[in-house]
């Protein structure tokens, strides 16, 4: 038995009197006690202190009360604490005095933050919260109106509500977004942080209505932009268990930044398919493709349309997140079944931050015809981004190409993402982005944007020979 369950000598103090007792750990918040020297006390007796001697140290706990409970293993009853609530488990096992009220230590820090909030922002948030609750009421009442209808009728009625009043509500949200931008556009970085924090605390009930916003805020896998969030962006549909939830879910997915994510998927697929055409002229070797921070790698479905396509590529998919790799594998599996063929794919579960030192990179990964990374560089600071891009460049075969995405500083959804979604990324200018490639002098680099003009792509070609024909791309 653990020695912490044995009896321990202690003293209760009341005024000038010291009362020797034995205490035994019994529950997280109380002790069993036995009075020594034939002392006895009435139920409810109070003492100013309890002093416990344990492992050569003395621990002093505050005001406590005796609760008489005869017949428990010969103990007189329990001791509970009435001014502070102590975590007895921490005391017995870790020798540390922890008060339940420690949870309140941070309170001033958080409560005082509101003093940093601009008056106009207070007003904005209060009005928005009010308006949203009015809309929520409206949509909830409509939901209730037809809740008794059969499912298909309900769905059709809901769709009509969404397409009419729902779209008007979306327009209202757009207007409020413009208003927000007016208020915060001259804020400093620190002001954005505080106002964002305050905003999310005030709007938390709305945020957790919407599956997408809930996920971006809570980040259940420990990082932003996980494969579930990506899937929601790709699907861009109405989700949630009420009309109001569905609308709040859909609104962020219609923002330009989300459209940029959908656009980039097409760009990648097109580029890989063009490589495929390119290879028609040459040998039969499979084209080796590396996707870095691949996520669910949905774009591969757009690449592999026929059995013939499948024979042309060998994909290597790298991601830090096993769940994302499983999802990618499921999609590949689905394509294999659909086309009744095998696809060459290797999965690597590794973080890009430790990848450069990983043994597989040194030994068996080989070189690639095409390397791409879409939603990664938005999270890498310059020293890390340079190191990673430099290594990826080395991994290209002569004549190979690389496509790297990064959101541009002008992203019009920046504040939406930061304030509503708690999703802050590292933005770059064209110059910032290009400067990451300093260590690749023999590279042929161009930079372009997807159709929404928000996400940049660094398109790098490694020279093979002087007469390399680069016209086949795009």
């Amino acid at each position: 038995m653990n020695q912490n369950f044995v009896e321990i000598k202690a003293n209760l103090i009341e005024g000038k009197t010291t009362i020797p007792i034995d205490v035994k750990y019994t529950s997280k918040y109380s002790f069993l006690i036995r009075f020594l020297n034939s002392n006895s006390f009435k139920n409810g007796a109070e003492f100013s202190k309890l002093i416990i001697q344990m492992n050569g140290r003395s621990f002093e706990l505050g005001r406590c009360q005796f609760l008489s409970e005869p017949n428990i293993d010969g103990y007189a009853g329990r001791l509970i604490f009435i001014n502070d609530i102590y975590d007895i488990e921490s005391l017995m096992f870790d020798n540390k005095i922890v008060r339940l009220q420690n949870a309140c230590l941070n309170l001033p820090l958080i409560l005082n933050l509101k003093h940093n909030i601009a008056e106009s922002f207070h007003k904005y948030t209060a009005n928005l919260t009010y308006d949203l609750s009015v809309y929520k009421n409206l949509f909830d009442n409509l939901d209730a109106e037809y809740s008794k209808e059969p499912e298909h009728i309900r769905n059709s009625l809901q769709q009509t509500v969404i397409n009419t009043i729902g779209r008007e509500f979306m327009g209202f949200l757009d207007d409020k977004l413009l208003e927000l931008e007016q208020i915060i556009r001259n804020f400093s970085k620190d002001q954005h942080k505080d106002h964002g924090f305050y905003f999310r605390k005030q709007l938390w009930n709305t945020i957790i209505c919407a599956p997408f916003m809930t996920r971006t805020n809570l980040k259940p896998r420990g990082y932003a932009g996980d494969s579930d969030m990506m899937s929601m962006i790709y699907a861009n549909d109405y989700r949630g268990n009420s009309t109001y939830s569905k609308l709040m879910h859909k609104h962020p997915l219609e923002q330009p930044a989300a459209q940029a994510v959908r656009n980039r998927r097409k760009i990648i697929a097109k580029m890989i398919r063009n490589l495929n055409k390119d290879s028609n002229r040459g040998n039969n070797k499979k084209l080796k493709i590396l996707s870095v921070a691949c996520g669910p790698a949905c774009e591969i479905q757009d690449v592999l349309i026929s059995t013939k396509d499948c024979k042309k590529f060998h994909f290597v998919l790298l991601d830090q997140d096993r769940t994302a790799l499983y999802e990618a594998a499921r999609l590949i599996d689905h394509t294999e079944k659909k086309l009744d063929t095998k696809i060459a794919v290797d999965y690597l579960n590794e973080s890009v931050r430790t990848m450069l030192a990983a043994p597989f990179l040194k030994n068996k990964l080989g070189q690639f015809n095409f390397i791409y990374s879409m939603g990664l560089f938005d999270y890498l600071l310059p020293p890390v981004a340079s190191a990673v891009i430099g290594k990826l460049y080395q991994l290209l075969k002569p004549g190979g190409q690389m496509l790297i995405g990064n959101f541009h500083v002008s992203n019009p959804s920046k504040y939406y993402m930061e304030y509503w979604l708690d999703w802050a990324i590292y933005y770059r200018t064209e110059e910032d982005f290009k400067s990451l490639l300093m260590d690749a002098p023999s590279a042929d680099v161009d930079l372009f944007f997807e159709d929404a003009g928000i996400q940049m792509f660094l398109h790098v070609k490694k020279k093979s020979k002087p007469d390399f024909d680069s016209k086949n791309i795009q």
Binding site: S90, N106, L109, K193, R353, L356, P382, P383, A387
Partner: protein, 161 residues
């Protein structure tokens, strides 16, 4: 305005104070404000402490390297130390912790959450696990890292001066 300094430090606790002084002298010479110098010195100390604590200095030649780079109003600090396979567990934790902290637009959330957890931790646990969240919250810096092919850990912190 662009300028930088490279400092080299033996992996010893009593060297940390010297690095604090040298880096703060450099920042003063570059006209950085007092508030920023205080924050940056804290960031550098926490990073260097971690290097001494978790780095693998197998040969006497192994050192901690500190690069401070100023470009306009951005200060990038890189702290570099050797690692090996035995540090793997810590690198994983570093990776997870940095991504977790950066997952909040306001690092106050990470900071208060860490304080809450720390207040429950045993006394004999010497790692309070507060260093990185302090860098983000009090130091107002964004953190990142990578391990190079030749097994050097490079932790960087980016701050506005």
């Amino acid at each position: 305005m662009k300028s930088s300094i490279k400092l080299i430090m033996k992996p010893k606790w009593d060297e940390i104070e010297k690095i604090r002084n040298k880096s703060s002298n450099f920042l003063v010479s570059q006209g950085i404000s007092n508030n920023s110098i205080q924050a940056l010195t804290m960031v550098i100390s926490e990073l260097v402490e971690n290097s001494v604590k978790y780095g693998k200095f197998l040969s006497p030649k192994n050192t901690v390297i500190i690069n401070i780079h100023i470009d306009e109003n951005i200060v990038t600090t890189e702290v570099i130390n050797p690692v090996d396979n035995t540090v793997f567990k810590h690198l994983k934790k570093l990776d997870k912790t940095i991504q977790w902290i950066r997952g909040f637009q306001n690092p106050l959330e990470a900071y208060t959450e860490r304080l809450r957890v720390v207040s429950k931790k045993p006394l004999n646990d010497e790692d309070s696990g507060l260093g990185l969240v302090r860098i983000a919250y009090e130091g107002k810096a964004i953190l990142d890292f990578f391990v190079s092919e030749d097994n050097f850990l490079n932790v960087s912190a980016l701050s506005n001066s």
